[in-house]
Symmetry: C2
Subunit: 465 residues, 2 copies
């Protein structure tokens, strides 16, 4: 049995800040001087150092100074085999897939390439402070295997599954529904629930799925009701029209997944840029989730996700945030927060009535403002709740797995340190307000350079050079 | 007389890539192995190494290997005294100014603070590859003085001027039209045309200007017709309504500057997000310029600049790109290109007819796609032409000032190097296509870390640690 303790300044979330408009601190837990006790990778105790020190007097304490320690980041939507092709030039979704993505992903049918790619992929994640992902792989079984193998070596919690496409892709890239069923069934047995691995039934997207493929997904979900379901939804206008042309018995994109009984808890649809109010309502009713991928939505020109609509208390939709790397051009969830803030502010202006008076909705406008509390909640506890993994990760509650990140608010582009000195005196943040301002600076002025240490299940797996 | 030569891989522009749709290479000059000869800071010769080597056989040659050397970046719109306050949380333009900006800018009335700020400001610029700026200062004369003094010490070409505001700001921040006239007149005499300094008549923005102040600007321009005029235009919907309420004899924002005879060559209006087609036409006819500040437009939620409309050959508007730091949250023009690409792609989707068929305009849609050639032209030669300083800077033509940047395509976030290895073999780019792909990677996957060396007037002022 290994027990250890970390002392430092901690910030995490005990509630959804969107439920506390005007008083977000009520959702936030901030310990200027806290102690986190870890036993075999699990949080054993957490609280103010002064209150806990006596109880754990015999333990050696690792002090992490001049940092804000937050829960590890959760990336709800990332494409493992696009690691090398991120930020490729020039197209909207559909032609970009054909030109850059499928040829690169094809390489992951080769075990050696997939293995080497997995090492780079997880190195990038850890350097970005990301400790949990929900990932797409490719249609080659090897690709998914190597993802799980490397995740297991690092003891990281991941959700993934062989990523099926049987339409609108080159022949050399598709997989038949039968092959998919066989490979998935074998992998579920081999990986699901082993260590920290969780398995997701993963039809790539409806534009790349025949009815037979979706029927196979339904069968897999019926046979394995505790599995996750991970896919894309309503990303790009041309894609949506294409989907409705294939699935001409459905009136909207969500309806197509509903038809195959896939929408419910543990279902995540990536993007959702063009979801209708009615689709938001049905997703909310069913306890399903949407992943907001702002870097990608801007990079591919998909559109502006309606953050303030998704967070409407009338039909609150569970949200994860995701890089969508390589449709997103950055690996870091801090860059995701930067672009999420920008999307939110564009929506904020659209909805404040200053452009078109009849479009004014001040409450929805306000919900688009991504405060640092809303932001960091979304990539920690909020993401965990949306993915139904909050029993494992998301905050520093006792019993959860000890995944966390130590953030250096002075690191980043050369401009950042002097900026941070405007927000906080020497000695670091003393109040939750100050911590919030530093977190905002980290997401808007800095980048993954702010990630100084990344810990997974109580082990430090990354320290910035 | 000091003469030196640089050998390396060079890329610059000899024409506007928007004029060469489908054949942008025609606008680009790419030398795999080039030689740049510099005499007293001025380009004396430039061409393929093989062709020039004999002519300059006696010169010692500095070899810059594994880099792409491009002209120094031009930031057409930046706020010197906002260096420390960049990326401050949470508001659209007008409340953000009151809460964060005016209190910080006020400090620059103190010479010591302004001096120290200027050192940091130029350090940040050079680390970002920016060698020329058109800058706002504050309403305190000291602030402008210290900007020019520090620029002179570094021999950098800057355009700036005391930044006048006499309305909609706290009393302690405004300047009267008389004080402005006196200070500007004194500074024009002292700085304009001295070394590489150029002076701009700088009414901050129409929302902060009485008619008397704009009348004073007109008088200054009449007395000094060779001066630049630098201001803001049509940034935010609420601001525009405010401007038209003050200047109720004008029907649009541009008309107000026109009324005071300020719009013509050497006039630049920052932002222009909400300019009408008619305003674009008048700006084009008059040879004036607009600065596209995408980081800021997203950060403050101002809106999406209509890049494809501004570049319509029917009424081509001269464009500079700018950080608008601190309304923009980044110092680096590479981040500006990242966000400019994203704004362009959002517009591209809006205009391709896939959302609303009646809004389809395929030519305008295409003009929104910021290829790497359009991008780097815009922050070098294109920016120089828009600011009417292309006789001095912008590309490697003989006779121009030797400002340039050596870019390392492998630097940046940890993901970048492997990505770059997909685009180019060992040995670097051999073709203009490969160079373009690397430049795109530098702007979308990397950031200011790609800037390895920055040279100003033939002297290396920055080398990455």
């Amino acid at each position: 049995m290994s027990t250890k303790a970390i002392r430092g300044t901690f910030l995490d979330f005990i509630d959804d800040p969107w439920k506390h408009v005007g008083d977000e601190h009520a959702a936030t837990r901030f310990l200027v001087d806290g102690l986190l006790v870890i036993e075999d990778g699990i949080i054993k105790d957490f609280g103010p150092y002064d209150a806990l020190a006596d109880r754990w007097a015999e333990l050696e304490v690792t002090e992490i100074r001049d940092r804000i320690i937050v829960p590890g980041f959760i990336d709800g939507h990332i494409h493992f085999p696009q690691t090398r092709v991120l930020g490729a030039y020039g197209e909207q979704l559909l032609p970009w897939l054909q030109k850059w993505v499928f040829p690169e992903e094809r390489k992951y049918a080769d075990r050696e390439y997939a293995q080497a790619g997995a090492v780079r992929f997880f190195d990038n994640l850890l350097a970005s402070g990301t400790t949990t992902i929900q990932a797409f792989t490719s249609s080659a079984p090897v690709c998914t295997e190597e993802l799980f193998e490397e995740a297991s070596r690092r003891n990281m919690r991941v959700i993934a599954g062989i990523t099926a496409i049987d339409k609108n892709a080159p022949d050399w890239f598709t997989i038949s529904p039968e092959e998919f069923y066989t490979a998935a069934t074998e992998q579920i047995e081999r990986y699901h629930g082993k260590g920290r691995n969780l398995y997701a039934i993963t039809p790539r997207f409806a534009f790349g799925a025949t009815k037979e493929l979706l029927e196979t997904c339904r069968r897999l979900k019926q046979e394995n009701p505790d599995l996750w379901v991970h896919t894309h939804i309503s990303e790009n206008p041309a894609e949506i029209r294409g989907v409705l042309a294939i699935h001409d018995d459905c009136t909207d994109y969500l309806g197509m997944y509903e038809k195959y009984d896939l929408v419910g808890p543990k279902f995540t649809g990536g993007h959702g840029v063009w979801l209708s109010n009615d689709e938001f309502r049905r997703i909310s009713d069913k306890g399903a989730a949407v992943t907001f991928c702002p870097c990608s939505n801007l990079y591919l020109g998909s559109g502006l996700f309606r953050l303030g609509r998704a967070t409407d208390p009338e039909h609150r939709v569970k949200l994860t945030f995701g890089t969508d790397m390589g449709g997103g051009n950055r690996f870091s969830m801090l860059n995701v927060l930067e672009d999420a803030y920008k999307v939110g502010m564009l929506n904020n202006t659209i909805l404040d009535g200053s452009i078109v008076p009849s479009e004014q909705d001040l409450a929805e406008s306000e919900r688009n403002k991504l405060s640092p509390f809303r932001a960091f909640w979304s990539i920690t506890q909020g993401g965990a709740e949306a993915l139904y993994i909050d029993e494992y990760v998301g905050n520093f509650d006792i019993g959860k797995e000890a995944d966390f990140v130590a953030l250096d608010w002075t690191a980043g582009p050369p401009a950042n340190a002097w900026h941070a000195s405007l927000l906080v005196e020497e000695g670091g943040p003393q109040t939750v307000e100050q911590a919030g301002e530093l977190l905002f600076s980290i997401m808007m002025v800095s980048d993954e350079r702010a990630v100084d240490e990344t810990w997974v299940a109580g082990e430090r797996l990354y320290k910035k050079a």
